[in-house]
Amino acid sequence: MSDLNNLYRQVIMDHYKNPRNKGLVGDANYKKFHVKNPSCGDDITVQTKVADGTIQDVKHDGTGCSICCSSASVMSETLMGKKVTEAEDIIDNYYNMIKGKEYDEDLDMGDAIVYSGVANFPARVKCATVAWQAAEESLKNE
């Protein structure tokens, strides 16, 4: 069971059951992006508000498995307050970690680090990146 325990850390299940920053807002200062994985029903929308090159707020909503939904919550916490350029580095680093590539272990990724176990379940990489892709797109051209 060690692999499974590695994938489903307590903190992941906690974010799944008690998501932070969940729920979209009707504010034109937010940019919004929607990503879905139709074959499994993962469906996440992310909103970001940026001012002076810094992420002021991140919101998310959607449905999906625990990896997908929790990672939206974790992502929102991780990126909140970061500079956009920092966020981009974190996103790249996160993708590398998830895909089992080399990544910078010293970069502060907050709770996102707990998703490192996904690398052993390649079929779940998509689940763990849907929300991050939405964030990445939402931050584009900021």
Partner: protein, 395 residues
């Protein structure tokens, strides 16, 4: 007993995703290698010996596959797969014969590949899609079919076996009634051909579509069966080499079916491998295959019903498909427990979103059994079900 014929199973996995694609026995790969290594050239056109051999093998496959469903040889069109076959029916027969205000009867059990082509026909021709109400269990019945039949019905498009529920549709009677009303019936047999004996003459369907890759055959090839008069009355939807008689600069004449639907270089190796797959299945016997699957399924259902926190959607299904979920566990999460244990099954909407919606879910788990599965596979599967329930129960 048949496990040893399937090289993938040497890896020690428990393969319960035959509904998506079956594994292939070595002899099928051998038949294709034999083609590529010994006479791997084009058909129908060469005037040298190995091209002639390739042509004979290709046409012998058509004869064999026709025999498998008791069709006449010229009623078997080879296609890229069931999805292509179903699209030919809708695009060639459907667009030409369905008119504004006409009705097309289908069911929420349909696979997207049988649903979307008729959605397109309905849109283009301003026709109406009419769904047979399903029973509580999710079944098509003759009575419910009759309840939506009208004098506007032009086409009935139904699956023979549902790929999510495994139910066998009561097609004999439905086709009979349809024909009394001069309605044409397209049957999606993608999940039927691998698992039960089909006799198109007895069934009397107008069109029947299936794929090789779900019945021990290679990827890249499928069949469109159509009644001869129907096929010959239809326009081709792909035009090009080999399907024509005479080609002028502004006009061309086409061959009779099946050739007018087979344009350009066909999947030759695949057709040849398909023949071997059909021979393999027949050597076991379709009735024996069906019996074997049913035995495993009944064994699995019996065990499943005893497990708390598990929901089985199709406990009375007559074929080897088990649709279920683990309560409070997203199917994708559960799937990783199965994956870790080497149990391969499917989580998702199985290309049948309307049905999964009908079930009130976003996704389900599906285990599907085939000839190479054993009771030990079921036991491993059941262990993983319990492990998944317990693992996620702890949070």
């Amino acid at each position: 007993m048949y496990k040893k014929d399937f090289p993938v199973l040497n890896k020690g996995i428990t393969y319960l995703d035959s509904g998506a694609s079956s594994l292939k026995p070595s002899i099928v790969m051998e038949a294709m290698n034999d083609y590529y290594n010994n006479y791997g050239v084009n058909v129908h056109r060469g005037v040298y010996e190995i091209s002639h051999i390739a042509t004979e093998m290709y046409e012998a496959a058509r004869e064999r596959v026709a025999g498998f469903i008791n069709a006449d040889t010229e009623e078997v069109v080879f296609t890229r797969g069931a999805s292509s076959s179903l699209n030919i029916v809708a695009s060639s027969y459907g667009l030409a014969n369905v008119n504004e205000g006409d009705e097309i009867i289908l069911s929420e059990l349909e696979h997207h590949s049988h649903l979307l082509p008729w959605q397109n026909v309905a849109k283009v021709k301003k026709a109406k899609l009419v769904y047979i109400p399903l029973t509580k269990e999710g079944r098509i019945t003759v009575d419910n079919f009759k309840s939506v039949l009208s004098d506007k019905t032009k086409v009935v498009a139904l699956t023979y076996v549902s790929n999510v529920m495994g139910y066998v549709s009561p097609l004999d009677e439905i086709i009979n009634i349809a024909h009394q009303n001069e309605i044409v019936v397209s049957v999606d047999a993608a999940q039927a051909a691998p698992h039960k004996k089909i006799d198109v003459k007895k069934l009397d369907c107008d069109f029947l579509s299936f794929s090789a890759h779900k019945m021990c055959g290679p990827t890249g090839v499928g069949v469109l069966y159509g009644k001869k008069e129907l096929l010959n009355s239809m326009d081709p939807i792909e035009f090009g080499g080999d399907m024509n008689d005479d080609v002028g600069l502004y006009d061309a004449t086409f061959k009779d079916a099946p050739y007018k639907f087979e344009t350009g270089t066909m999947p030759i190796a695949e057709v040849i491998g398909f023949k071997t797959a059909v021979e393999y299945l027949e050597s076991i016997g379709m009735d024996e295959i069906q019996r074997h699957e049913k035995t495993l399924r009944d064994y699995a259902v019996e065990k499943m019903l005893k497990i708390d926190g598990v929901k089985v959607y199709n406990k009375d299904s007559e074929t080897g498909i088990l649709a279920f979920n683990i309560e409070n566990v997203h199917p994708h999460d559960a799937a990783s427990v199965f994956d870790k244990n080497g149990v391969c099954l499917r989580a998702g909407h199985h290309c049948a979103q309307p049905l999964v919606n009908w079930l009130g879910e976003v996704a389900t788990l599906r285990a599907s059994f085939y000839i190479y599965n054993t009771k030990e596979d079921v036991d491993k599967f059941i262990e993983s079900v319990i492990e998944a329930r317990d693992f996620f129960g702890q949070f």
